[in-house]
Point group: C2
Chain length 373, copies 2
């Protein structure tokens, strides 16, 4: 096995597949990157059982394969070698079956390969059930939902994001049972999809995207979904189980709706939660007064109190109203909006409230309040 | 106690004194910042027993004191309040002896004060034994020496940097007994100084400096040294004990001297130490060949080997020579030089070698080699 490759091209592709590299050692072989040279192409593969990524390099001006072969190199060290090298090209060859020689200018590395016979067979599965999405749209979907998934493994299904279609409508939902993020999208074609994708996989996928204009293909199989993006295959397992039905959770009749400048509201909440963030309760109170002014306040017995006054841009109905909730949840929800003006819609002092943004059509964030004395 | 102060000015001064704030809680009162308003001045003080910092604010356009007083506020929270506030001015007042009210635009904070009677008396001690230095020079001295001090408390004296004078010459030395950094400076006046300053204190001091042209006064007392810089007093305790005599350690006769481009050498060593850094031995070998080429190599049995070839800019004498040492020590030493060309001077395969730079006059770095089979 022997090839010469452009250093920058190799590094870029290594960085991409490295997102699936295993850092823990339940299967030491998965700390390796599988390198396969055949048919004038180079395939780089990494997997951590949850995510598998394969990158295909075939640019003849930047890659010359002299001898085909397969080898598994220690991922971390190989990437560090390429990163620390500043030569234009890198020569890669294999001696005695398991010694990798890497030449770059006047640097000469010998790297012990891993046993390629231990590397698991990974099938990247095309499917007839394919959804095509602009990268830009998929990035938005991921950014606006994954933060609301559960971090706890006690209800594994809630660590994933639900993608389900009803004809030409895609509904993406994430919830940790205290809050919920829901995003719609409409397509020209009809689809039949109902899967739950691990939130972590989506976040890793999002880091690989480097543009907003390309098309991503999502290939759905019963237990996994394969994303095809540029020269990359990104496959993740699905979460088994039934996602809770959230269709009746989102209220549609409101006591009052209040419109804020988003950044003003974020700043006020960040200040109002200064003390409660440190004592980790995160609970703040929002009060609407009869004169349509809003007060946000919090108290930490040990540290002190904060009161923030705000004049909302609009308030559909003046009333005496008070609600308490996690500032962390509201901040994360607010930051998921691109709109500069956002609306809080309240249905009751101990009922969920929702957040919408004028320019974020088809996005709803919901938060459950907490009872406070 | 009541005053109004410009928000940016207050934040800058809080950030400076916060470098002495205690994060651990052997003395909870030291997590507080003491604020004193008197004679139209505001004094901010923080201390962690090792370092004490006091900042004096007296700009009448930016500070209006209505009522004098003393209070101790929880440092972390008070700084966060001021940081998160974007108003031009901040109103500060004390109610019921221990409730601090902070008003900034439409934000209203009540902060529980700490018990000021518990705050230790801190005397910032002027001295007749005063050395005056350009900030630029002191920053250089600190940057080029503190990294070589010991991190281990087993020989406490080596966790400090020795400042000693011989007439008009100041000698600054740091060593962890495996390497040594030595910097000279010459003055117009004679001084009589012989102290060991904690390395951490110097590093904190260095972070406060924001220019290179001001003058710093160092006031030496038997157990502490006080730095006066702009409106700041920075005091640190000294380390008790006798610093080892290092005057005979630095060799002056060399077998050969080799000149390198500094950045080329740094890159080669970073690559050569890729594998040994991970297995944390850090040991690399440097070989000078008869043809005046240089090879740097390292081996990790588990991972592999690296060989780097270099053609030095100059080599005073060709010889067959091999020396092994810690790549970490050499990298840190090299990065302390401003020169683009640096010299390695060797006296023997198991004898210390020194590093000098053409433009770094009066700076010597020394490294002890290790024996390898």
């Amino acid at each position: 096995m022997k090839f010469t490759i452009n250093r920058d091209l190799l590094l870029l592709n290594l960085m991409n597949v490295s997102r699936a590299l295993s850092t823990k050692a339940p299967m030491p072989i998965l700390t390796g990157i599988k390198i396969e040279a055949r048919n004038n192409c180079l395939f780089l593969t990494a997997s951590n059982n949850e995510i598998s990524i394969q990158s295909l390099i075939k640019d003849k001006r930047l890659l010359q394969i002299e001898e085909e072969g397969i080898i598994v190199v220690p991922g971390k060290y190989f990437i560090e070698i390429v990163r620390k090298t500043d030569s234009k090209d890198i020569d890669f060859s294999v001696f005695e079956e398991n010694i990798v020689k890497i030449l770059a200018d006047r640097s000469n590395f010998s790297l012990n390969a891993l046993d390629k016979d231990n590397y698991p067979f990974i099938s990247f599965s095309d499917s007839d059930n394919v959804m095509k999405l602009d990268v830009g749209n998929l990035r938005q979907i991921i950014r606006k939902t994954t933060f609301a998934t559960s971090l706890s493994e006690s209800r594994v299904i809630l660590t994933g994001v639900s993608f389900s279609t009803d004809g030409r409508k895609l509904e993406v939902v994430a919830t940790d049972s205290f809050r919920l993020a829901k995003k719609f999208m409409f397509f020209e074609n009809e689809y039949s999809i109902n899967v739950v994708i691990p939130s972590k996989s989506l976040d890793e996928l999002n880091k690989i995207f480097d543009d907003v204009d390309s098309i991503v293909e999502m290939h759905f199989s019963p237990t996994k979904v394969l994303f095809k993006y540029k020269n990359l295959l990104f496959q993740t397992r699905l979460i088994d189980g039934t996602f809770p039905n959230t269709s009746n959770l989102i209220p549609t009749d409101f006591l009052t709706s209040v419109k804020f400048n988003k950044n003003e509201l974020i700043s006020a909440i960040e200040r109002a939660s200064l003390f409660t963030t440190y004592d980790s309760s995160n609970i703040i109170k929002l009060t609407i007064h009869n004169d349509k002014t809003v007060e946000i306040d919090s108290t930490s017995n040990e540290i002190g109190t904060v009161k923030e006054e705000l004049t909302p841009l609009e308030c559909s109905k003046a009333l005496d109203f008070q609600i308490a909730f996690s500032s962390k949840y509201l901040l994360e929800a607010l930051k998921s909006f691109d709109s500069t003006e956002i609306n809080l819609h309240f249905t009751g002092e101990i009922k969920p409230f929702i957040i919408t943004g004028d320019y974020d059509v088809n996005l709803t964030q919901l938060i459950l309040p907490v009872r406070v004395s």
